[in-house]
């Protein structure tokens, strides 16, 4: 089956047409690729058409895209027909229901504003159930009346049941069409949610009516018994409630699964789609309402899924869903056009067509007005006349009706061809005429539009307060309304459901006000960066404000997040940059530090992973800068005290230095072929402790990789050390690279041997995080003084120099000595936990050092180091312990 035109596009990139049959070089294999190629080709055509439509703003602002697509479909179908002499392609019901519809329904369910939806659930259900029932019965009966009156052609061979069947499929408002048209109209949310919600929820009614009448027609009206009617009624409840239940079940599963996807972030989005699709198929399998299933699955899982999955996954889910839904919609409308060309299925009867058009419009309007009249007695804000007009007029029919009418069995429903033709006309009329005119109508009636403004923190906060106030007033009045139950539900959700379905880290930080706050922060940050945060240069920086910066920067989201783990929804880097005016200063500072303190080092991360996305370089650099600052501070602190670091340990280090370097190559950029990795300080420690144990090293590195974070400054240190030796001469400083505690990393939790120090580590890191800016000055002072008094006893010097902050970098780097020397404090506890891995003679040397160092150390601490001395001591101890292996 050679495709005439459209697919030609898809087959274009293939081998030259005149492939030589004798040549094995190229072979024509169209048959093998035909099906997927056609699919891809059609989607491509549709998508290209979208581009073309959007080229002209003038056209798309007047004509909805769905109209254009249908017209395009008509054109393409015409071409196909002209060339192939028969209609090759049309909207297959199975394809429509199994592949094209689910993405659209999932998208609308998942992104349904749930609060608005449930607030108006009563109205939505009324219109969806009663409205649809009324429409189908009234339309079917009225058409039958027309037939009885003899206005219809004799060829329309249909009884009451046939007309009722036709009425059931033609009367349902179509979600695809409604969404396509109303999205461009921007009416106010309440009106939109009512019309759109109705179109989604009426699926259950449509399915039941369609199936019941279909079976009645097939049985023959004569054989229908009273129990069959009862069964019909019962099946309505089964189908609708069952569909919703299936959706809820899968929503629950989905939420539960995403709770445990921490290690497989990359496939998180897949679960969302798979389970939603499974929900659809399961419902379809047991002939429940599949649209209801997916809708409810989407609505209900969203809260938990969004809290569980990572931010990148969230973006992925959003875009994939929108892409799928949008392309499905495009294809549906285009195929509607193409299918309409197929005249072999047409059987025109003017009376039937006109009657149907008239009745669906009339009964829709009547139904809406009657129901609204009843509903308004219970609604807080009544739906006014204008709303009713829009609702009546917005009842668009679409592809669902078309697919259902195609599905009819021509042998049983003898008037099928007439019904098909009528359905096509109705769909075209509603989508083209009503779709085209609804926008001007809305404008003309001055329907309240939705004002698209972004939620502010105030609004969110005060609206929460309003909710509480209203709930309280209802309690006082003693009238338990909707709010009461919502409150109840929220409490239940908070107490049980959320705890069960959310990660602990996500659950802890789950609060709507907080969420909005985070979102606003991100938005601000992005807009700041977009507006050219890069314009800020060092020259514009004013340092005087530095000391006063502390309070604000401490409460920054970033720090909070560091403390609370990665569960929250924020990207560290983004937040670091800016939130408010005050924080612009932070950003300036940041840039200065970036420029002057940090020489970005190319890290050719030659790793490719299908399973993990490496963090962006920027993010890593930030960490490095921060950690470097910390390291420098500590280093200079030590250097002022212990420039006497032993020559003995120098020797020791040289001995096993090579081995160690290999071990710690995790960090080093040594050309040893090993891709440099990020390493946390904990891991470094682990590596060094386990000098002889390769297994352990690989273990830890694996753990590390999973977490994908850490610091990489050790190699830098060694590089700098090599030069520093020459420059600064006799300055021997303990290499401190691996002592720096960054923020508490997950490695802390993951590495079992770190467990005993957990508290300590957290304490240190959270503290150090906060004292960076201030302490850097003192670090500078200390480093200067250490330079001046290389030989003088430590602890005697003042640090008189107040220099610009950006200064210290080069000098300090030079001060790092080549030798990886070491000393140790007399810490029995630490020594007792010393690993047994080393049998090297250096071990015996270590204790000798201690008496020498210890008094020094204590004296120093007590004299100069101030309140944070104890902390520094602790940190200082660490490397000693680690490096002793």
């Amino acid at each position: 089956m050679q495709p005439p035109t459209g697919p030609a596009l898809a087959s274009a990139p293939e081998s030259p047409p005149g492939a030589d049959p004798g040549s094995p070089l190229l072979r024509w294999q169209w048959r093998e690729v035909q099906a997927p190629c056609l699919v891809a080709g059609w989607i491509l055509v549709a998508s290209l058409a979208k581009i073309v439509f959007q080229l002209s703003r003038k056209v798309t602002s007047v004509v909805p895209e769905s109209c254009l697509l249908i017209l395009l479909g008509l054109g393409l179908g015409g071409i196909v027909l002209a060339i192939a002499k028969r209609a090759e392609y049309q909207l297959e019901p199975s394809m429509f229901f199994l592949f094209l519809l689910p993405p659209i329904v999932l998208d609308s369910g998942y992104f349904m504003p749930s609060r608005l939806f449930f607030d108006n659930l009563g109205a939505i259900l009324t219109y969806a159930v009663i409205g649809t029932l009324w429409n189908s019965f009234a339309t079917g009966a009225a058409l039958w009346g027309v037939k009885q009156a003899g206005l219809m052609d004799e060829g329309v061979d249909a009884g009451l049941m046939d007309f009722l069947l036709f009425g059931s499929l033609i009367s349902a408002v179509d979600p695809v069409a409604v969404l396509a048209v109303f999205e461009e109209v921007h009416i106010n949310e309440t009106l939109f949610i009512i019309v759109f919600g109705e179109s989604l929820l009426n699926d259950a009614v449509t399915v039941v009516l369609y199936k019941v009448f279909n079976s009645f027609v097939e049985m023959g009206p004569a054989h229908v018994q009273a129990t069959d009617y009862l069964k019909g009624v019962a099946s309505f409840f089964v189908v609708s409630l069952g569909g919703a239940a299936v959706g809820l079940l899968f929503a629950f599963l989905l939420a539960l699964i995403t709770r445990f996807t921490k290690r497989v972030r990359i496939i998180e989005p897949l679960f969302v789609f798979l389970l939603a699709y499974m929900a659809y198929l399961s419902a379809e399998m047991v002939s429940l309402s599949s649209i209801l299933a997916v809708t409810f699955c989407g609505i209900c899982c969203k809260k938990y899924v969004e809290a569980n999955i990572s931010r990148k996954s969230r973006t992925t889910v959003k875009y994939t869903m929108k892409t799928l839904a949008s392309s499905s919609e495009t294809v549906i409308f285009m195929f509607l056009g193409i299918s309409a060309v197929d005249t072999s299925k047409w059987a025109w009867d003017t009376a039937l067509v006109l009657g149907t058009l008239l009745f669906i419009l009339l009964f829709r309007a009547v139904g809406v007005i009657l129901q609204t009249w009843v509903l308004n007695r219970f609604r807080l804000t009544p739906l006014d006349r204008i709303d009713q007009v829009v609702m009546s007029y917005g009842g668009l029919r679409g592809a669902v009706a078309f697919a259902l009418v195609i599905l009819l069995d021509g042998a049983k429903v003898r008037a099928k061809d007439y019904f098909v033709a009528t359905t096509i006309v109705v769909v075209f009329f509603t989508v083209l005429v009503q779709g085209l005119t609804i926008k001007p109508l809305v404008k003309w009636l001055k329907v309240k539009r939705s004002d698209h403004h972004k939620p502010t923190l105030n609004e969110e906060l005060h609206e929460h307060a309003f909710d509480h106030i209203l709930a309280a007033v209802e309690d006082v009045v003693g009238h338990h309304g909707y709010r009461y139950w919502r409150d109840r539900w929220e409490q239940f959700d908070k107490r049980y459901l959320s705890q069960l379905l959310m990660r602990k880290s996500a659950y802890r930080l789950k609060d709507e006000i907080w969420d909005v706050y985070c979102k606003l922060n991100i938005r601000d940050a992005i807009s700041f960066v977009d507006q050219g945060g890069h314009v800020l240069s060092a020259s514009r920086l004013t340092l005087p404000s530095m000391p006063s910066r502390t309070s604000m920067s401490e409460s920054s989201v970033t720090n909070l997040l560091r403390e609370s783990g990665s569960g929250a929804c924020l990207d560290l880097q983004v937040i670091d940059t800016v939130r408010s005016r005050r924080d612009k200063e932070d950003a300036v500072m940041h840039h200065v530090l970036c420029g002057s303190l940090y020489k970005p080092r190319r890290r050719y991360k030659a790793s490719y992973s299908r399973h993990f996305i490496s963090p962006s370089t920027q993010e890593r650099q930030d960490k490095e800068i921060f950690q470097q600052n910390m390291k420098r501070r500590l280093e200079t602190f030590k250097s002022t005290k212990h420039n006497v670091c032993s020559a003995k340990s120098k020797a020791r280090l040289k001995k096993d230095g090579r081995k160690k370097q290999k071990k710690s190559a995790a960090n080093a950029e040594l050309p040893n072929g090993k891709p440099p990795r990020s390493v946390t300080w904990q891991q470094t420690a682990a590596v060094l402790v386990a000098v002889d144990s390769d297994d352990e090293e690989s273990d830890s590195s694996e753990t590390e990789k999973e977490d994908d974070e850490g610091i990489v400054f050790i190699a830098r240190a060694t590089d700098a050390i090599l030069q520093g030796k020459k420059a600064s001469g006799s300055l021997d400083v303990c290499p401190s690279p691996r002592i720096i505690p960054p923020s508490p990393t997950s490695a802390e939790r993951e590495l079992p041997w770190k467990g005993d120090q957990g508290d300590l580590a957290v304490y240190i890191s959270s503290e150090t995080t906060k004292i960076v800016p201030v302490d850097m000055q003192s670090a500078w002072k200390q480093s200067i003084s250490s330079l001046e008094s290389v030989t003088s006893p430590p602890g005697a010097e003042p640090g008189p120099h107040a220099k610009p902050l950006a200064g210290p970098a080069p000098e300090e780097r030079q001060m790092m000595p080549e030798q990886r020397t070491c000393f140790q404090f007399p810490n029995p506890l630490l020594r007792s936990s010393r690993p047994q891995s080393t049998g090297s003679p250096e071990r015996t040397e270590q204790p000798e050092l201690q008496p020498l160092m210890a008094p020094d150390e204590h004296g120093r601490m007590s004299t100069s180091a101030g309140p944070s001395s104890s902390r520094w001591l602790i940190q200082f101890n660490r490397p000693a312990r680690f490096s002793e292996g």
Binding site: N458, E459, L461, A472, V473, E474, V477, L509, S555
Partner: protein, 195 residues
């Protein structure tokens, strides 16, 4: 029950309440029966304890604030008139009310009165400003316990920053109204009173 309530309530009193609050006759009698059922002391006034006995109110994060709002400044009893006056803030605005009463006194359920009710829940010291501390207190009540004080502080800072126009680091009532101008307060601060 309704007849008992109305028998206790004099007709002219009902008329006055009707005029002041806009409630219908049946709504007033219905609410009066609720009032008497809350009034355990049977002295025609409600005390704070009477309110606190309502179980759902006890778990409402803003419950205490709202109870306070029922009581006039410095008093700890509220009579039926006062009770109704407070409730009238939450009466939905009806269509026919929008047009009339251009020159008359502003009805209790007007937009600005609704907003003012909410505002005074924040404004403890009645200086017509929501200070950072006052905001923090309310935030503490409303958000989960898992949000740290620091985080709350940053939320409060941001909230004030967003609303503050005159740079006094507090939210005045005008700023409060301005910030919420896009919110459908008429709907979000109304409940349906049964007829």
């Amino acid at each position: 029950m309704g007849s008992r309530a109305s028998s206790l309530l004099r007709d002219e009193e009902i008329e006055e309440i009707k005029k002041e609050t806009g409630f219908s006759h049946s709504q007033i009698t219905r609410l009066y029966s609720r009032f008497t059922s809350l009034d355990k002391g049977e002295n025609g006034t409600l005390s704070r304890e009477d309110f606190q006995r309502i179980p759902e109110l006890a778990i409402n994060p803003l419950g205490d604030r709202i109870i306070n709002a029922f009581f006039p400044e410095g008093e700890d009893q509220v009579n039926f008139r006062g009770f109704m006056r407070t409730l009238a803030h939450f009466r939905p605005i009806e269509d026919n009310e929008k047009s009339k009463d251009q020159n008359g006194p502003e009805p209790l359920n007007s937009r600005s009165n609704k907003l003012h009710f909410a505002f005074q829940l924040y404004d403890l010291d009645k200086d017509d400003k929501i200070s950072r501390d006052e905001l923090l207190q309310v935030l503490r009540m409303m958000v989960g316990v898992n949000i740290s004080d620091e985080q709350l502080g940053s939320i409060a800072d941001r909230t004030i920053q967003e609303a503050d126009q005159d740079g006094d680091s507090a939210i005045s009532f005008t700023e409060f109204v301005k910030v919420l101008e896009k919110v459908d307060v008429e709907q979000k601060m109304s409940i349906r009173f049964l007829h």
